[in-house]
């Protein structure tokens, strides 16, 4: 796990993932610098909505999605490309343990990165309101919202991570299947409820603390047609993640070292 964390976190090739995670925070920082000490009240409510939009529309649909695609597809595919995977297959460790170990390593990287990013966004967003912001966070609903965002971010990393890990074991080039998954996640809300159970964002939407007042076509990304309790959504996403990991454990046994074919 330590090797994987090092490979995925501390490398120049991964700079774009850091940017994916931190760009919203940088934008909010700019906003803070230029709009500091504005009166609270409506501005605070507006910023709360903006933050919800950043998390639900940017992080869930783009940031975490593409970062997990990069991190988790590279766990096995990267070793095939670098011709080092055989070292992992030649140790007395069951391949399922390898899958779980690599998944956890990828999850540590993704969660650490995006939890930090969400925390930074949250902190920066309310910092410009001074005592009003502090009061909103510690005496108001802010702290609970932060907890929800952190939970949802972690679950998003786990869910997408499992999906992309499985895709990397199924396909030599998981980019196109990844795009298909992105499309599926976008249009899943128009499908019956039983089909939506296979969508990561279906569960995430139920856990978001702030609903977005979006109308028109974009509402498909945020509207929850049939709300379920939070614990059911958490359980559902965890179950989906575990089911996909079990599939990955099955797929790893079919994997062969054929570097010349890669």
């Amino acid at each position: 796990m330590r090797n994987e964390v090092r490979r995925n976190l501390f490398t120049r090739r991964r700079i774009w993932i850091y940017l994916l995670a931190l760009i919203p925070a940088l934008i909010i920082l700019t906003h803070v610098i230029f709009d500091r000490n504005q009166p609270s009240g409506p501005a605070l409510e507006i910023d709360t909505q903006v933050l919800a939009g950043i998390v639900q529309l940017y992080y869930f649909r783009l940031g975490i999605f593409f970062a997990c695609m990069a991190i988790f597809t590279w766990l096995f595919r990267g070793e095939m490309v670098e011709r080092t995977l055989h070292y992992q297959f030649l140790v007395p460790v069951r391949r399922e343990v390898l899958v779980v170990g690599k998944f956890l390593a990828g999850a540590v990287v993704a969660i650490a990165l995006f939890e930090t990013a969400v925390l930074a966004c949250f902190g920066l967003m309310y910092s410009r309101f001074g005592s009003a912001g502090k009061s909103y966070v510690f005496d108001g609903p802010g702290f609970g919202q932060l907890g929800s965002y952190l939970l949802v971010t972690a679950l998003a990393c786990l869910g997408y991570g499992a999906v992309f890990l499985a895709l990397s074991l199924l396909f030599k080039n998981p980019i196109i299947p990844g795009v298909v998954i992105m499309g599926w996640e976008a249009i899943a809300p128009i499908f019956p409820a039983w089909a939506q159970l296979l969508s990561v964002t279906f569960y995430l939407k139920h856990l978001c603390p702030v609903s977005l007042p979006i109308t028109g076509p974009l509402a498909i990304f945020t509207i929850v047609a049939e709300p379920v309790p939070a614990f059911v959504a958490v359980l559902g996403l965890v179950s989906l993640t575990i089911a996909i990991l079990v599939l990955s454990c099955f797929l790893i046994h079919r994997m062969e070292i054929t570097y010349t074919a890669e």
Binding site: E82, L90, I257
Partner: protein, 316 residues
């Protein structure tokens, strides 16, 4: 039937990559000692090694290594070490960590893993440069560090895919001495190599491959005896070469008897080496010729390779 726990057994093993043949209907058993896989590029040597070590699965057949299969990874990979031909390493690693980390995955504690890693580095002659990044090693050093990693956990079966590539003559000699020492301990050492002279010198057994088929396997002398299409060449150093040549020509099974350029010997090609030796005994005991030395001239891997596979790489 319980698989033999002292042998490596291939039972009707075939491997197809789509429509491309890797190996076809390979069946043999290997006893402890040094076995060489010999064949031209694309003959299936690496495929056979990858099958043996579980990196690929057979399309048909079964493989047992000391009674184990790769589906029992915990027991299997404790017994097997594989030095592949792939000259690639985890990015950013140094020589010591390259050996130490897999040892931890083998279940060794920190102290034991460190001891084994240092031991392997010493055996491979890499102790002085162990803390340098592998990316800075020469080709020969990278070959030796991979070898060190393969032997570090003291496997019972050592599989080496072209282990002498890139090594200077001294390193090559040291590596060969290492293989021989390991084989003497009762281990299996399986080597693929193009350097036929060295294969000949160190191997107890040879497996000749061509186009995915095992053309011949066994001890080198046994394999040579089976190659009946090519008469045995026997070199006799003696005093009265012309007399010996004349006597040899009278035998039906002698195809050729050529007097050497220096006049002190005869190169005989015969289809029946045993009968020729009987004749030689008769001639020597009759005092007609004084023999200084007798030796087969073509029971080496190079000759067998040429006869069975040929210089163009296809079956002869």
């Amino acid at each position: 039937m319980t698989p033999d726990t002292s042998q490596i057994v291939f039972e009707g093993v075939s491997k197809f990559y789509g429509e491309v043949l890797g190996v076809n209907k390979v069946s043999f058993s290997l006893h402890p000692g040094i076995t060489s896989l010999v064949g031209p590029n694309g003959s299936g040597k690496t495929t056979l090694m990858n099958l043996l070590t579980g990196l690929i699965r057979p399309s048909q057949g079964a493989i047992y290594v000391l009674g184990l299969t790769p589906q029992q990874p915990i027991e299997f990979f404790r017994q097997v070490g594989y030095c592949t031909q792939f000259d690639s390493f985890p990015p950013g690693t140094n020589g010591y960590d390259f050996i130490y980390r897999p040892l931890r995955l083998h279940g060794f504690g920190h102290g034991q893993a460190a001891k084994l890693a240092n031991e392997a580095l010493e055996r491979a002659g890499m102790a002085q440069v162990a803390r340098r990044k592998v990316a800075g090693y020469s080709k020969g050093m990278r070959q030796r560090i991979r070898l060190a990693q393969a032997i570090a956990h003291h496997p019972s079966v050592l599989v080496l895919d072209e282990p002498l590539n890139g090594l200077d003559p001294m390193a090559r000699a040291e590596s060969i001495a290492l293989f021989e020492a390991i084989a003497k301990q009762g281990m299996h050492v399986i080597i693929s190599s193009h350097i036929l002279e060295e294969v000949d010198r160190i191997s107890d057994r040879v497996v000749l491959m061509s186009s995915g088929y095992v053309v011949a396997e066994g001890q080198i002398k046994e394999v040579r005896r089976e190659v009946r299409d090519h008469p045995m060449q026997i070199l006799v150093r003696c005093s009265n070469a012309a007399r010996l040549a004349a006597a040899a020509f009278e035998l039906d099974h002698v195809v050729e008897a050529k007097i050497l350029d220096d006049g002190h010997g005869v190169l005989v090609r015969t289809r029946d080496a045993e009968q020729f030796y009987l004749l030689l005994n008769k001639i020597v005991s009759g005092g007609l010729v004084e023999v200084d030395a007798v030796a087969p001239a073509d029971d080496d891997v190079n000759s067998i390779y040429q006869y069975l596979i040929g210089s163009d790489g296809g079956p002869a």
